[in-house]
């Protein structure tokens, strides 16, 4: 299935190109090469999907709620700054 052309990329190279690929930063020729590799390689396809999931899960990381005390402290500061 993998007819290795001289300029075909291998998996170990592909994983280093994923971010450039997702950012749309690959030159057209490299992009085509990368996509050709993905079509032939279920492992790298799964890898790219893992990266997409990683990005989505990172985007869902929650922050701690601001405590009422901290909010009140900042409100007090605001009033002081305003009166200065």
């Amino acid at each position: 299935m993998l007819s290795l052309r001289r300029k075909d990329i291998v998996c170990q190279q592909a994983v280093e190109l994923v971010t450039d690929y997702l950012e749309g930063a690959l030159p057209r020729r490299d992009r085509r090469r990368f996509e050709r590799h993905l079509r032939a390689c279920p492992n790298c396809t799964a890898y790219v999907e893992q990266i997409r999931i990683t990005i989505a899960l990172t985007g869902a990381v929650e922050v701690d709620e601001l405590t009422p005390e901290a909010r009140e402290d900042l409100s007090e500061l605001y009033r002081r700054w305003r009166s200065e």
Binding site: V10, Q12, V15, V18, R52, L57, E62
Partner: protein, 219 residues
Amino acid sequence: MVSGVATTRRGATFLIPRRPTLRAVDTDVEMVTRLRNGDEQAFVALVSRYQQPMLRLARSFVPSQAVAEEAVQDTWLGLVRGIENFEGRSSFKTWLFRILVNRARSAGTKEHPAAPTEALHAVDPARFNAEGQWADPVDKWIEESEQRLDAAAWSPILKAALEDLPARQRQVVLLRDVEGLSHDEACSVLGISVGNQRVLLHRGRSQLRGILEAKMGKG
């Protein structure tokens, strides 16, 4: 918790908490207008929205939580004093984060002395054979398109993993993937080139993926 369903391009779905991104952008502008008129409630609204994200970002620049809090407080003061300078050419969030980064940097600290070493490879070279192909199959994290990953359950793991990233990677990942800034906005906040930003993002995302991989399948 109110949740939404995200769908990746290949059709896999997973639950993510609803993030008020678009609405936040709209109301940021409204809050800034009200703040110009000295509206304390507008200040409180902005503090509620951005205090914790700013602390999280500031913490990656400075050695302690106390110094991070000072930098954030300085930023709020800068905001109150300089609200007239906000011209709306960038989003309010980008503008605010840029002030914060300047404040945090001038808090006079360098990279953490015990910064973790940066991985040079996205994936451990031992995972590939001599031809550079995967030695073992790569797992599908989502087998069926109907399957869902519970983002809330992964949140604490990713939070800890983010804190373990080298500072510069953490800054880029926070701005891009957590705060949802564009690459131009992230570069503007951090004062780095697009290329540098991409390298840091690549290393950071790769490391987070590796940490998730180690935990997937154990659940």
